[in-house]
Amino acid sequence: MLVSPTLVIMIGLLIIPLLLTMIISFGRRDPDGGVIYTFTLANYARLMGYSTNCDTGAATCFDPLYIQILWKSVTLAFQTTFFVIMLAYPLSYFIARSRPERRNMFLMMVLVPLWTNFVIRVYAWMMILRTQGVINGFVGWLAGLLGLPFTPIEMLYTPGAVLVGMVYEFLPFMILPIYTSLEKIDNSLYEAAADLGAHPIHTFLRVTLPLSMPGVVAGTILVFIPVMGTFIVSDLLGGQKVILVGNLIQRQFLDARDPTFGSAASLVLMVMTLIVTYFYTKKFGFGEEIVIG
């Protein structure tokens, strides 16, 4: 009987909504944006590139639009995860190796910004990246001092700005697991490595890095999956010109009033994420060592 609360939650909050999404995705849109319940694969075909309005005048043709959007989202998720690891690892290393009484303070510094609403923090980035924003203002001032010519750099509303925003948003989710696994490493291991004559670089490559991998793995899962479905950053920092699969889905439920296509796109996104995560965890595990260890 102990399992039943879990079962109720699983069925009520996971299985039933998923089934509903699936049923709707096989339906058809009515002219007012309602759902006609039927069985058609048209929404999936459309996602995969089957099109009936072609530039060439042919009856049907291949239209890569939605595949391109999916591909762009996956690429951005990989890029974000890569840069997040690159930034989070040194930071976590620094925190884990600092004096114990300072560690909590540093961790707080990572966590406290998260207490502010995320959208407000993105607006702060908008002010930083604007044509007449903080960075351009500062560089312009510097150039003025040195007597150099300066034209403001266009940063906001570009794909680069979206990447910056994504990396910023998910950085703490990588720092915390890496920190946890680094902090666990017994100091005597470093001493042993040094005693046996290992160069600090070798100690890092052969002791620290392998032992902290579970943190990187757990962090990657925490970062990659939400990045795939996010849409607020690309809306605000990309000037609505960068369409990711998250934006696509959101638009189907609102502006396009096509819940059937939106449901199909949600399921495809979910399956894709599952596949990537499956192969990833098959190779690296879930990073459970840091949970169980």
Binding site: Q132, L156, V291
Partner: protein, 380 residues
């Protein structure tokens, strides 16, 4: 050690949730004739038609920032009704909530094109005109429009135009939507993030109807619109004025109210009514079909739409104002609000711009086609 990371993660998630608890005592209905002053210093006028209200609550579902704060305080004071206030930032959001069966709301503010859709899907109730004492104060120009003939379901709230605003110190003056394609505006334009408005304006430059469902015309518009994208720096329907004022862009197609605010910040902003005719819209008051507090909502409509209350809209949301008594009241009593409003060609457009304007209507199945064009043009 076991659950350290998950403890941290869950703490972090908890921390991200901001809990706001607002405890407010039920307001007392006024009994004496003594005037009530709001927290902003506005003296509440007497309701011209004080109605019998037994409900204790009124649930508004309105656009973000679209109700003067004084209205709520005055109404709560006069009628002893607690106002619950929910907001939306797009018609689609409101429509999605109502059509999924939410029946808690007493008042919504749908825009023209979505009204017809809501009526067709039985989401609105017919207005009982015998309870509306302000009908005679409404300007017939804004009444009896195609989306609701005879105003059976809606009353006009405010309207506006989507015309071109530009910084006259930085760029030359555009005179038509077609001018936006000029290479000199490359990377300098902000457009509303609204597929119907942007595709509609492209259709106008090609000489087609803004509400066309003809696939060939729409394909042509798509190709034309793709050429405009390099000129567009961003799409924004939340606050397009911000990018204009901050200098990120120098011209844009935005709502009149946004353009007016930009102009107040920086007088270099000018407004141009495109030669193709602008796109015009109108927001309305409407009552959802299952509204639980109809007595309170009729009292709200009558009270807020009387001239000495509705003139506050000129101050806060300077769009086209359909309440004639509000205009007269502002002219006679608040020239500081009325004069800038009446003298600006942004808020008070020339009559020919209004008559030449095009209204967007729902296009049914073609909505998916518009959305696909939009996704395609922006996604490339």
């Amino acid at each position: 050690m076991k659950s350290k990371i998950w403890t941290i993660v869950s703490m972090l998630l908890l921390g991200a949730m901001v809990l706001s608890a607002c405890g407010s005592a039920a307001p007392e209905a006024s009994t004496d004739g003594e005037a009530f002053t709001t927290s902003t210093g506005f003296v509440c006028p007497e309701p011209k038609n004080k109605m019998e209200v037994t409900s204790k609550e009124l649930n508004l579902f309105v656009w973000t920032e679209y109700i003067p704060v004084e209205w709520k305080e005055c109404y709560e004071h006069v009628y002893g009704v607690t106002i619950n206030h929910d907001e939306y930032s797009s018609n689609e959001e409101m429509y999605a909530k109502l059509s999924s069966g939410s029946s808690a709301y007493d008042l919504v503010q749908p825009t023209d094109y979505i009204v017809a859709l809501m009526i067709r899907n039985n989401l609105l109730q017919k207005l009982d005109k015998s309870k509306l004492s302000i009908m005679g104060d409404l300007d017939p120009k804004y009444m009896n429009l195609p989306f609701d003939p005879g105003n059976e379901y809606t009353l006009p709230y405010e309207g506006g135009l989507d015309a071109i605003v530009y910084n006259s110190e930085k760029v030359s003056a555009p005179t038509s939507y077609a001018d936006l394609w000029k290479p000199e505006y490359a990377g300098k334009i902000v457009l509303l993030d609204d597929s119907r408005v942007v595709i509609g304006m492209t259709l106008l430059t090609l000489g087609y109807d803004v509400n066309t469902t003809d696939e060939a015309q729409l394909e042509e518009a798509k190709a034309k619109l793709a050429e405009l994208i390099p000129n567009v720096k961003l799409f924004d329907s939340n606050s397009p004025k911000t990018a204009l004022i901050a200098g990120d862009v120098d011209l844009g197609v935005v709502w009149t109210g946004e353009a007016y605010t930009a102009d107040q910040e920086n007088a270099a902003f000018e407004f141009a009514y495109p030669s193709e005719g602008t796109i015009i819209w109108q927001d309305n008051y409407a009552i959802p079909v299952n509204a639980p507090h109809t007595d309170a909502v009729y009292a709200w409509i009558n009270y807020t739409m009387q001239g000495d209350m509705f003139f506050l809209m000129l101050r806060d949301f300077p769009y086209l104002n359909p309440v004639t008594t509000a205009m007269e009241f502002a002219k006679a009593n608040h020239p500081d609000i009325y004069e800038p409003f009446a003298n600006s060609n942004i808020t008070n457009p020339p009559a020919e711009a209004v008559t030449a304007a095009h209204q967007i209507t729902d296009v049914g199945d073609a909505t998916t086609l518009y959305d696909k064009i939009w996704t395609e043009v922006k996604g490339e």
